[in-house]
Amino acid sequence: MTIRCLLWALGLVTSLAWAESPTAVVDFTRGPVPIPDSTRPPLLRNAVNDDARRPRNYDWQPPTIPHRVDGYQVDKNFNKCLDCHARAKTDFSQAIPVSATHYIDRSGKVLDHVSTRRYFCMQCHVAQDPVQPLVGNSFRNAAALNPKVTGTSQAKK
């Protein structure tokens, strides 16, 4: 008898939990919209195109792209990024040259062209949209936390 009572109570609790779950879950990327409903996606905007270099947030962060890259062709025939950023082209284009590390293949051999493992630029480097982050972030890089390590210039900001 007591077991049956317990089962009933358990069933009641779980059913209540099920009934509440659609509204109780708060996902910041969807906002207050219940899970069964579809959200209204934010408007698509143009990527930042100001050509101003943004500082890195942490050491070894791939620098972000400060211009629009819509429709850039990067495939086995042609790499639109390297058309300006390849080291041989920067004399003409005045673009930031691709890092020398990108010319080294995985066995440490230095090549005269970009290594295949570095070929798809936008796997790491991305253009930026002028939007507010959906989720808050209190990340601070190591230099900002410990000014003695890398000097005080970054810590003052």
């Binding site: 195109n49 211009h67 629009r68 429709g71 495939d75 025939n77 042609f78 003409f92």
Partner: protein
Amino acid sequence: MIERIRRYWTIIRRPSVHFSLGALTLGGFIGGIVFWGAFNTAMEFTNTETFCTGCHEMGDNVFVELKSTIHYTNRSGVRAMCSNCHVPHEWTVKIARKMQASKEVWAKIFGTVNTQEKFRAHRLELARHEWARFKANDSLECRNCHNYEYMDFTRQSVRAQNMHSTYLANKEKTCIDCHKGIAHRLPYIPPGEAPSDTPGQVVPSEDSRVLAPSTVSVATDAAR
């Protein structure tokens, strides 16, 4: 049968013996209008998107690539069709291009690029033809819409301002020199022929950008 042909031949050879001069003039006039109208209508039909993409060589290769580009899909709904860029607008040049295109009919009949592999193999050659054509007519088909005189440089990115206020302004370069592969995917391009491989070209420094307005005015004065 031979008798009938002979009779028609005598009429055609000396029509003024059989018909009045007025009827011949009027007939010739009306016939001319009908012929001219039909000729131009037929030629305009070959400029339509349905005609261009009617064959799978165009529809499956280049047209598919065009669809995602800014010239086909954009916010304002202005669309550049195949013929806007690939056929000259002026009549005489258009006829010359249409006559050249008879070679494309030949290629269609004999299936020169009737598979994707064959198309890719010929792609660089075909692209070079178009690049050469644009280079020769100073990118006329671009300029039919993108007029240098109407450009608002303040609405352009700094990079674009730099380039347009110097190389485009002093006519050293034309649109196609830098803007290759904007409506279709590029084939493999041998070293030295890529869009940025324009010999002797160096991006202007900050100093020369200050001087840019004078080069612009010189260029526009020369144009007048």
